[in-house]
Every structure is written in structure tokens, then in C-alpha cells.
Amino acid sequence: MAASPIFYPKSPAGMGGGGAAPAGGADLSALGFVPVDLTDGWTLYDPDNLVDTVTHSGGVNTVTMNGLAVGSNDYAWAYSATIRAPRWYKALTAPNASDQEQQIVSGDAFTLSTVMQFQEPVDRFATQAVIGSAFNPTSTASADIDLIGGMLQYPTSGNPLAGAFWQQTPSLAGANANLDRSFVVHNAAAGRMGTAAYINVDNTGGFLASGQRAGNASYNDTTTNLSIVVGLGTASTATITAGEDAKIKAFYRAVRYTLP
């Protein structure tokens, strides 16, 4: 079975929020995802100029890198309190019944679902890529970025691994040659980051692994506009030769709730 078709629902009628009449209607029994096109509406924050070019075709973002001669955990997303890896960001929103995007803030009750799909690069470097919600996308402190979501990682040669991520700590299933997609959901409410849980599947949609990473902290406040972030970095202290690339195929869906 091929990957589920991706569609963008016109509106989330029936999600709640005062009983708004259906207006064209998201089908909550088959809710789709927003595909990530980094060339359309995303802002790049790249403090050390690691990204050379970005192109997008067929749902795949190809990022060609500048050289990184001296590797550091600071260019990875995991394992360092300092994160100087490049990331793209934009407002984390959910459409209302009139298809108007509504900003999600740090005190809202919401879920963010993400999917990352492994794509073989042309010329690999050891890569960590993430997608998730973030409190401050242009910070270099992991506890201020507060990114929670999914992570995909692979070495220069060998099999990829994927799973859940919070701040600087991943929990990834072991490397698997059959890994195709990693589906991650995290919740938040009352200014608290919940747990990010993952299910990895192969290219038939068959189960490979599952697990979770607890987002064991609260946001700094409950009024900050959150962002959706796609981050690209090295796996641990890997280096990058100029011209090496990564391919990012990712999707997300945010839903905000009115708690009963």
C-alpha cells in the first residue's frame, strides 16, 4: 500500500469551538497533512551559514550545504544545550471554520502531528532533521527553542532511524533498512509540553517500532506565539563537505482544542 494521499482540508468544521456550522468541511475521519515546502513562506535561521541552497520539487526539499570543517554537537539537534543548526520556521496555526489560520500560543491546548519520510540524498552527510513546534525558533539555547516533535537521523552510510524529540533529547527506534515514515504526535496544554510519541512504518504502512519522549517541562509563559520548525543539522559531531545535501520530505497538522 502506498503512502496515504495528502490533502489540505478546507476547514475544520465540527472540531468544536462553539458549534460552528460545517462550512466545507474537514473530514476528521481522514484528516490530511500540510506538506512542507521550505521555499514557500518559511524563514531560515542559520546562524553559521551552513545552508547553501534550497529547492523544492515533488514534495521533496533538497538542501545543499556549505562546508563544515570542524564538527560540533552544537550543529546537531540532539545532545547539546546549544543548538546552532539551521532551521526554517513559520507561525504554528490551525484553520478555523472559515479557513482563517489561527495562531497557536504557548498556553493553548493543541496537538501537533508530524510525518517525516526518509529520502535518500544524492551526496550524504551524517544528518539529523527535526520537525516540531517551538517556543523561540531563533534561539540557540535548546531550553529556549523548546522544540518538541519528530526526528530523523542517518549516518553517511547505513540505515536511518527515527522517533521523537524534545529540546535536545531524542528517543529513536534503532536503525532499520525498511524505515520509510515516522508519524509523531505531541500534545500541549496549560503551558506544558506533553509527550511526543512515534510510530515508524515501512513503505507498505507496516509497523516497525514505537516509543516516546516526554516533554518534561513547561513553556516560559502561556502567551507566546508558537512556531512550526523544520531543522537540519549534523548527527553528533559530523563534518560536512560543501555540496553535500539532505532531502527533507515532511508534513504536519496542528489542531487546537477547546477543553471541556
Partner: protein, 79 residues
């Protein structure tokens, strides 16, 4: 003697996580086993351990945690 419990539903056999020791983070692939210290026995556990003493905790006390963890490792690996 205080006791601990293992949250078997939380055990993950093959997982890659960030391990933190002395504020140094590193990637470790392994099995995660969740040890639950009962609230009612927390003070007993703390009293049983003196970090300044190289012989603390007593072997019999430490063995309680060790056996719980190793029993779970045996269970999930079929050893």
C-alpha cells in the same frame, strides 16, 4: 528492605537516546527500563544511600534494584 517496581509497559528494547552523565550528552543505543521507586519508600531509599561512602549502598540493598532491572532485561531478551 525498600522495594522498587518495573513499569514493564514502558520498556523499549531497541532505542537510541541521549544519555547524560556529568552534563556530558552522548548517544546510546540500548534498552530502556523504567524503575519506579514507590513514594512510600522514597525516604527509605534515600536513607540507605550515602554518596560520600564508597561502600554505600549496602550490597543487599543495591541488589534489590539490580535484580529488578536484570530480571526485566532477561524478560525482554528471552535470556
Amino acid at each position: 528492605m525498600p522495594s522498587v517496581a518495573i513499569d514493564r509497559a514502558a520498556t523499549q528494547i531497541d532505542v537510541v537516546v541521549g544519555a547524560f552523565e556529568d552534563d556530558t550528552a552522548q548517544e546510546v543505543q540500548g534498552t530502556t527500563i523504567t524503575v519506579v521507586v514507590p513514594l512510600a519508600e522514597r525516604d527509605a531509599w534515600l536513607a540507605a544511600y550515602d554518596p560520600e561512602s564508597t561502600t554505600s549502598p549496602a550490597a543487599a540493598t543495591g541488589r534489590i534494584i539490580a535484580r529488578a532491572v536484570l530480571d526485566e532485561l532477561r524478560r525482554v531478551t528471552g535470556a
